[in-house]
């Protein structure tokens, strides 16, 4: 055996004085066995870790089909005030899946581009600061949030407080003499339509790039 086992270039582990060496074992064989053991361990760990992670983040990419729902007759809704309606946002979870929406007919004061989806204006009650429920006050013609003092005007545009963009809206359609309510969309300060974003995510200026929309939930194409 040489004086310093690490100096030798022999391919046998016994010559190099490695711990656990045995007659005829080569360095390549030992490296191969080490690699196979580590690889098998990684495969075993990945076999449960990857499905678990996929299972947990899967719902982010799940597509949701929004059902259009009937919210009332066309002559129920005036142009100068809002009528509160209860709608279902998520099926099958009781009260937690319901929400209020404020609806009125389109009037001369509306500045957004008219098309078949905004003959009736449906305003979401979700405050665009952090998601508390806003209430409409006809005396002030304002939407007011109880949590942190957000205030919106008659069209849902921010006039005070911390909210970062106007109140979300829902697509509406007239079918016969009934008003139907469709998916949610977000608007920027000019009331231009965007795919729905969460509260607190600005859409003016650089905001729409800082807060990307979901690939799974889009506004209606061509609107």
């Amino acid at each position: 055996m040489p004086k310093d086992p690490r100096q030798t270039k022999s391919k046998y582990t016994a010559d190099r004085g490695m711990p656990g060496a045995f007659e005829g074992e080569t360095v390549t064989r030992r490296r191969f066995m080490t690699g196979v053991t580590h690889g098998a361990g990684a495969v075993a760990a990945g076999a449960f870790a990857l499905p678990a992670i996929g299972f947990a983040i899967g719902p982010i990419f799940e597509k949701h089909n929004v059902q259009w729902q009937d919210i009332g007759a066309t002559d129920e809704f005036p142009t100068d005030t809002y009528v509160p309606k209860t709608i279902t946002i998520v099926e099958g979870i009781g009260e937690a899946g319901r929400s209020t929406v404020y609806v009125r007919a389109r009037g001369p004061q509306d500045t957004d581009k008219p098309d078949q989806y905004n003959k009736f204006i449906a305003i979401s009650t979700r405050c665009m600061h952090l998601g508390c429920p806003v209430a409409y006050r006809q005396a002030a013609q304002r939407f007011i949030c109880p949590c942190h003092g957000g205030v919106y005007d008659f069209q849902g545009v921010v006039t005070g407080g911390p909210p970062v963009r106007p109140l979300d809206r829902f697509y509406t359609q007239v079918r016969g003499k009934r008003v139907w309510l469709g998916p949610r969309f977000s608007v920027n300060r000019e009331l231009r339509r965007f795919s729905p974003r969460d509260p607190g995510e600005a859409l003016d200026g650089v905001g729409q790039y800082l807060y990307p929309s979901r690939p799974s939930v889009r506004k209606l194409p061509g609107t």
């Binding site: 719902p59 946002i89 009781g94 899946g97 952090l130 998601g131 509260p199 979901r214």
Partner: protein, 271 residues
């Protein structure tokens, strides 16, 4: 390879109160009282386990440590935090026996625990107030470590583990707040999830991950429940183990107002 011969260290001595007194002459003589027999049985069981595991050495290493002069009540804040966690774990397990994490039954099951289950209000109260106590103790413990300079070399890693434990405690507070599923917890969670969503670029994905989708949905509550009672408690328990190991390994620091005592022969000559 020559076998390394490690010096065998003597076991740390037991405190005087724990060493048994030697038998008096003439005492026993082969006939012990039932109390002696019970005592002997206990020693036999402990000895049987210890012979096969050598646990007593580790237990002694953990418990009978030298502590610096000046150790005071501030040094108990860490243990207090750990016992707050143990209390939370224990009461949480028993609350889970009655709790149902479904959006339609959660509120009713929480109401049942408080109003109908025997001692339910007490256990739920322990868990609710205990969570606040734990957060306060975590911060007091952190302040003690900071103001005593106990985060410095070689204890930086223990500080980092402590910060991770602080964040995990906050995650526990956040996910636990939803579970009673009343108006307050529902809206607080909506606001909390949306605060997560305001982070640029990753925020929208983070809030969708927490809600399991774009809206507060059927599985949001069970997701919070699983995080609250499985994922995070496991992580906290494991990290507390690492935290305690490092405390025992590195020892504790003396309070900063104590000067180190220098042996006279090492003292520099005064000019």
């Amino acid at each position: 390879m020559p076998k390394l011969k490690l010096p065998r260290l003597p076991a740390p001595p037991l405190p005087p109160g724990m060493t048994p007194p030697p038998p008096r002459p003439g005492e026993g003589n082969g006939q012990g009282s039932p109390l002696d027999a019970a005592r002997e049985a206990g020693t036999t069981v402990v000895g049987w386990v210890d012979e096969r595991t050598s646990l007593s050495g580790g237990a002694r290493w953990m418990m009978f440590r030298k502590v610096p002069k000046g150790t005071n009540w501030f040094y108990t804040l860490g243990s207090a935090t750990m016992f707050a966690f143990l209390s939370q774990a224990m009461t949480g397990v028993f609350l889970a026996m009655y709790y149902d994490p479904s959006p339609t039954h959660a509120y009713e099951s929480a109401r049942y625990i408080t109003n109908d289950a025997f001692l339910g209000e007490f256990v739920r109260g322990m868990h609710k107030w205990g969570s606040t106590v734990m957060v306060i103790l975590v911060f007091l413990h952190m302040a003690r470590t900071f103001f005593f300079g106990a985060y410095k070399y070689p204890r930086e890693l223990n500080w980092i583990i402590g910060v991770v434990l602080l964040i995990l405690t906050m995650v526990m507070s956040f996910t636990g707040y939803l579970l009673p599923f009343d108006q307050r917890s529902y809206w607080a969670t909506i606001v909390g999830v949306n605060i997560n969503g305001t982070g640029p670029l990753v925020g929208p994905y983070l809030s969708d991950f927490l809600r399991a989708g774009p809206e507060f949905g059927a599985t949001t509550l069970s997701r919070f429940y699983a995080i609250h009672m499985m994922l995070v408690p496991g992580l906290i328990a494991a990290l507390i183990g690492a935290h305690l190991y490092l405390v025992a390994k590195l020892g504790t620091t003396a309070p900063p107002w104590l000067k180190a005592e220098v042996e006279p022969e090492y003292r520099e000559e005064q000019a």
